[in-house]
């Protein structure tokens, strides 16, 4: 459990980090919280020649809301989502997820940027980002790119990030009145990756009808899955059991889990149905002002 030799850099700016990444032509890796990267290095499954530690870059850790958006900096710690009143009150889906990611030690180190960059379909935050309609801001030698979350995830551990790019900020549309969201996770044991996780975000209009819906599924496909059909079904409906039951059925239809130590595929698929209903109900309760 000891990684092979590697070089280590601690750049002071984003641009410097990008220069180093570029110089190693794909053989350097960004080191954020290290909670996903270091385990694979210790197992010698990844043997990068260099690590570019972005933790010393100033102003890369923040949670702030402006006129249009919620903005989260890449090195914001998972636990910061837990500790933020703003997140708890206005974006509870993120504190739901953060609260159930790993354990306090991992959450103190792991970053929001690392969680969404890793491309692990079992990570919890990507589904939340998709449900919230987040945009990922990347920077590389050729400048900035803004990529909507669903397009970012291409395959297992494969994302839109080029090896010489850095994700520096996540932008989430500002919460509106009538919006409610929730993340529901089923796990074998606290701190474990999910058997299934469901992220739901609803905007309920003044007439009590769903105006917009975001729904994404964790750990039941090669990437996190956006349940587009189910979202479409929800829009224009009353937020009731009938609509949610139908949306769950549709979501179940796109789930394509594999059997592993977290359960057989059949079970996971059935749980997509159960958890989607629960997540939608909780999101709707919150949209109505409930906790």
């Amino acid at each position: 459990m000891i990684p092979p030799r590697f070089e280590y850099f601690a750049p002071a700016t984003i641009d410097e980090a990008i220069q180093i990444l570029d110089r190693f032509e794909g053989e350097a890796k960004v080191l954020a919280g290290g909670q996903s990267l270091l385990p694979v290095m210790k197992l010698r499954l990844a043997e990068p020649r260099a690590l570019v530690d972005i933790n010393r870059i100033p102003n890369l850790a923040f949670i702030r809301e402006d006129a249009k958006s919620l903005r989260i900096g890449a090195t914001t710690r998972t636990n910061d989502l837990n500790d933020s009143d703003l997140i708890h009150k206005r974006y509870p889906i993120l504190s739901d997820a953060a609260y159930e990611i790993a354990d306090p030690l991992v959450r103190n180190m792991g970053t929001v940027g690392g969680n969404v960059s890793h491309g692990d379909p079992a990570n919890d935050l990507p589904a939340c980002m998709i449900a919230l309609g987040a945009i990922f801001h990347l920077r590389g030698p050729k400048g900035n790119r803004a990529i909507p979350a669903p397009e970012f995830y291409q395959d297992t551990f494969v994302t839109a990030l080029a090896p010489n790019e850095l994700l520096h900020e996540i932008e989430i549309p500002k919460a509106k009145a009538g919006q409610g969201n929730a993340y529901v996770k089923l796990e074998k044991r606290v701190g474990d990756f999910p058997i299934v996780g469901i992220a739901a975000n609803l905007l309920i209009g003044s007439k009590g009808v769903i105006q917009a819906a975001g729904l994404a599924l964790t750990a039941v496909g090669p990437t996190v899955l956006k349940a587009v059909e189910a979202e479409r079904h929800l829009v224009g409906k009353a937020p009731d059991e009938a609509a949610f039951a139908r949306a769950s059925e549709i979501a179940k239809g796109i789930a394509n889990p594999t059997s592993d130590l977290r359960g057989p595929a059949e079970y996971k698929k059935a749980m997509v149905g159960v958890l989607t209903r629960r997540a939608l109900h909780r999101a709707a309760d919150r949209a109505r002002g409930g906790a």
């Binding site: 459990m1 354990d103 044991r189 606290v190 057989p264």
Partner: protein, 777 residues
Amino acid sequence: MTVHGGIGQAIKRKEDARFVRGKGNYVDDVKLPGMLYLDIVRSPYAHARIRSINIEKAMKVPGVLAVVTGKDLAMANLAWMPTLMSDKQMVLPTDRVMYQAQEVAGVVAESRYAAADGVAAVEVDYDPLPVVVDPKKALEPDAPILRPDRKEQTNRIWHWEVGDREGTDKALKSSDVVVRENLYIPRILVSSIETCGCVASFDAMGKLTLWMTTQAPHAIRTVFAMVTGLPEQKIRIISPDLGGGFGGKVPVYPGYVLAVVAALKTGQPVKWIEDRSENLQADSFARDYHITAEIGATKDGKLTALRVKTIADHGYTDAAANPSKFPAGLFHIITGSYPFQKAHVEVDGVYTNKPPGGIAYRCSFRVTEAAFTIERMVDILAHKLGMDPAEFRMKNFIPSGAFPFKSVLGWTYDSGNYPAALRKAMDLIGYDALRKEQAEKRKQGELMGIGISSFTEIVGAGPSHTFDILGLKMFDSCEVRIHPTGKAIARFGTKSQGQGHETTYAQILAEELGLSSEDISVEEGDTDTAPYGLGTYASRSTPTAGAAAAIAARKIRDKGQKIAAHLLEVGPGDLEWKDHKFQVKGVPDKAKTMQEVAFAAYTNLPPGMEMGLEAVDYYDPPNMTYPFGSYICAVDIDKETGEVHIRRFVAVDDCGTIINPMIVDGQIHGGLTMGLAPALLEEIQYDENGNIQGGSFMDYLLPTAVETPKWETAKTTTPSPHHPLGAKGVGESATVGAPAAIVNAVVDALAHLGVTHIDIPMTPWKVWNILHQKGVA
């Protein structure tokens, strides 16, 4: 008058002052000048021929000094070593690997990092062989023979049976009701917070000092002497503070031997510390019993007979940590808390391509397997008869007046009062109210269950007629020396791994000697200083070394009485030991304390008496002790997801005389959590190629505080009649008793659907699958 820190007082643990401040001294804290590091090359295959091992590149890694292979060991006749079960085990393979993660070569380097790089650079060429994972398939006629080195060309290691086969057949045939069930107790792993390791160092005179994570330093020294030919006085084993053992630190793992060989070869001290994955993948495992049980009763609910057949997966060698003369350990305690007329037990030990098995994980040699089986079967039978499981047990318990009780399979239970423990547990949990609630919930379609386990344990190995380790009898020892100022040092042949011996032993001596437990220091674990003993496992320390402490103290009192008589100018017969003092009978203020006597022992003795005040006792227990208890668990099940939530868990334990109630409760809390673990979470599986699934804490899920309910504990006290203090062991009761209570509760919640059994761990999908099949989910 009570002494400070005497028996029965919940004093704080002495050792915690060092542990909670991070001042413990573990093997990995040992640092010697010039110390080298050993790391181990391990097999990716579960079964393969080794074509070649190329060490050239590894030797070129900067800092690497030596690579040890099986061939090197074979030259010194050290490639194989004996197991406790008269089988043999590889230190390093010369031609074949037998399980995934098996040790293949050792790399010695100047730093831990260089050693790891060296391991990555060793090139091994393997030729994969057919793998046998399933012990049932291993017994089929066309299965590959895994151990061609043995005379018997079969994968059956042994067949063992006990009891009356024909009588049991007959009794079952004539029973009104018989139920039969297959129960699998999966492979689990001791996951001590400290992994295994050692530091081996030879001095200029060729004396080996081995700091080692071992629960049995003395026995290990003797075995080392016998295997290596080193004279025993030239081996010093030091077992310093241990971060848990639970049976996992009883075996001799190849890494220990390799470190000694490496120290010999390089002339420098060598440290080997296993990492977590190695610990999970390669160290010996526990359980893995495939059990088929049948149990019968009359229609009015009187138990008649029990028949049990078991296939025991032992991995590639029988290295079970079992010092009894029975190949399946104490499995025939399986008649449990009930007076069966007839019983028959058969066990077949089987080889597979897995690491060695038979760790008695917080369990006295197959007692967990036995308790689980009987407590499950009794429950299944009660449900079949439509009787309440509590009522059924009450009706069938061995009556409290029947002790000492001779079980049909040959054990003599020392003492017990089973109805009292169950009654107490029922009162504490509010059994009748829970049953009412369950009936109402069921009407509303909610799933709630209540499970009981009224287990009987057998601990304190053990009487020399039944137990030995390679011929060494299973006694244990205490040596006490009282200093002139009335302070004392006591040394023991056991070795605490977290049990709190420094505290409880001092309490026993305090009570028996009339000293404060603060004034008694306790030492264990150094073979050069401690008296010989067989170590700590199987809840044996209090039954054996605890008894030795009491008797050694009484020997001191015998001498002390003569000294006191001399000081008081009376005859020894005029004195009695009362209120922790030597008193002139009937004259309480004419008395001498142990302090006064101790000073006199060095300054003012009766003429002709030998100086000093010390005693030794080697205690060979006349019988085992039989702790018992009744546990009741209430669960709620999420019928959509299959998740099991333990709502309440009441544990009533009886371990005879209690030395420190707080330590006993700590043992129970930890034991219950380790009983919950396999019931709900832990299992090691292999795929068909023998690849371990979940060989890290990512997948091998230990319970955390979140999964652990609030344990509600209580006691009854039925002293052991043969132990000098009336005490029994307690370290393992809860691990042994808890799993059946939890399974019984979950099955009880589903009983109305026709469910009779669920194999552990009861994962959400196993439960969901049943609900799904029954049309509930």
